[in-house]
């Protein structure tokens, strides 16, 4: 599936936060008529809550606490009850690397640990029960039993090149380097796209058996220009990558260094184009989320943040705004009606989603604990929850 996923006929927004998860449910027909349930996993760090649009609609939640290690919970009754995964994602031990072709000094041989499960992705529509999970430290895992047990994708996690792609597995980015944006091509079940922060974007055409970088055209202003004049092939910092569900040959991504689009064409090299160049210069094109209209490949939304000076990562100039393009990034429109005139929050990469409905509903959550909703493609925003903990994630759900 491409993200964000939304089940048919959703009736709630699921909000993952630093201190638990909340479901926001409709209390009326007005755009601001929503109320928050009592929390799931109160006090725990919830990075992602995702409902499977396939089959019975299993919901998975990635959960850890400030003290305890990471796990995955699953609900098969629309969020009424939760049961912990029998075997959450975990890396191999040194003993399991006996006989590995990795060199002796490879950090993986010492044994890595999953700090948290960051990203949960249902597999292709033709593979019910298959899920992927991206973790911090950087790793990819799969479950073939609807999230009950998880296995490492060795063909990614133990790939010799991954060491150089992922900066020797050093923890570079705030809250740890991570594998995110696991995208499953809707027309080719074996084609997967990953984002690594930091590391770049990587594609597999054989269900994860082999991988290649797809980063040409992407800026990397945190590294010196290469002396031979060529481009870096990896080491980039994508924040949110999307294979467009309505045109899977079109990929978008929000990067640490701009907003990009790539149109795959037979025989042509894959190269990203910085569509963020068309953003207003006083706003820039730095941000986290990249949210695409599920039926219109030319329409998507971003939430710019201040990536200047010391990287405050807050609303640019303290003036929150969403920006929308309706022409594939050729032009952008500021959408701030309803939003506060001054505020200093961040919207994380998994904290903006659509509900798949027609007309489309959009929502985003902020680090200051507010959730904003639009029923008119972002033309006006309505506050639907306030004073929640720091929001990691917003997704649509169909709850019991």
């Amino acid at each position: 599936m491409t993200q964000p996923v939304a089940p048919a006929n959703p009736n709630a927004w699921m909000i993952g936060t630093r201190k638990g998860a909340w479901a926001l449910r409709r209390t009326g027909t007005g755009p601001a008529d929503w109320t928050a349930d009592e929390p799931w996993f109160f006090g725990c760090q919830v990075h992602h809550v995702v409902q499977d649009p396939r089959g019975a609609g299993t919901i998975l939640a990635s959960v850890k606490t400030g003290h305890l290690g990471p796990t995955v919970y699953r609900s098969t009754d629309g969020g009424k009850s939760w049961k912990e995964s029998g075997r959450p994602p975990r890396f191999k031990t040194p003993e399991q690397y006996a006989g590995s072709p990795l060199p002796d000094d490879d950090p993986r041989r010492k044994g890595r640990t999953v700090d948290h499960v960051f990203f949960l992705a249902p597999g292709h529509a033709s593979t019910p029960g298959l899920w992927y999970a991206g973790t911090s430290g950087i790793g990819l895992f799969r479950s073939g039993d609807d999230g009950v047990t998880w296995d490492a994708v060795d063909t990614f996690n133990d790939l010799p090149d991954l060491r150089k792609w992922a900066y020797d597995f050093s923890e570079l980015t705030p809250d740890g380097s991570k594998c995110h944006s696991v995208q499953v091509h809707p027309e080719h079940a074996d084609r997967l796209l990953l984002g690594l922060s930091g590391g770049g974007i990587f594609v597999s055409n054989d269900a994860g058996k082999s991988w290649e970088p797809v980063n040409l055209g992407v800026a990397m202003d945190f590294a010196p220009p290469k002396t031979d004049g060529t481009e870096y092939e990896y080491g980039h910092d994508p924040h949110d990558v999307v294979v467009h569900p309505a045109n899977p040959d079109r990929w978008y991504h929000q990067n640490h260094c701009g907003i990009y689009r790539l149109d795959n064409a037979p025989g042509a090299p894959r190269r990203w184009h910085r569509i963020g160049e068309a953003m207003p210069k006083d706003v820039g094109d730095i941000g986290f989320p990249m949210t695409c209209h599920p039926r219109d490949p030319d329409t998507c939304w971003v939430v710019p943040m201040d990536g200047g000076t010391v990287w405050p990562r807050t609303s640019v100039g303290g003036k929150p705004a969403v920006f929308r393009t309706k022409d594939g990034g050729a032009t952008w429109q500021r959408q701030d009606k309803g939003l506060p005139p001054r505020a200093w929050y961040t919207v994380f990469r998994q904290a903006m989603a659509h509900d798949g409905r027609d007309p489309l509903g959009l929502a985003f959550g902020t680090t200051s604990g507010d959730v904003w909703f639009s029923s008119d493609l972002g033309d006006r925003w309505h506050s639907i929850a306030r004073h929640l903990p720091k929001i990691h994630n917003v997704t649509a759900g169909r709850l019991a």
Binding site: G66, R90, T93, P94, T113
Partner: protein, 88 residues
């Protein structure tokens, strides 16, 4: 050999609210394995996949800190599992 294990509140969701339980084992790892058989999932929250007590969890055997699965648990000792003064 059965030992007494005292659990801080952050693990009570696994034990149905019990703060003191009994478990068999002569090492921290064996005690955790025994707990995990009764309370599935509890061990991985406390000890990572490399056999180390997680950074923000403290395990004491008696009054001594124990950070490895192999740390011994002598007969009659009490095991105390708590959140460290860190980690939120």
């Amino acid at each position: 050999m059965s030992v007494r294990v005292r659990l801080a509140a952050l693990l009570h969701s696994y034990t149905g609210g019990a703060d003191v339980v009994e478990a068999d084992g002569t090492t921290v790892g064996a005690v955790m394995d025994a707990l995990d058989r009764r309370y599935p999932g509890i061990a991985f929250r406390v000890i990572d996949e490399q056999g180390r007590v997680r950074r923000h969890v403290n395990v004491f055997v008696g009054e001594e800190s124990a950070r490895e699965r192999s740390s011994p648990v002598p007969p009659g000792a009490e095991v105390f599992i708590v959140g460290a003064l860190s980690g939120g």
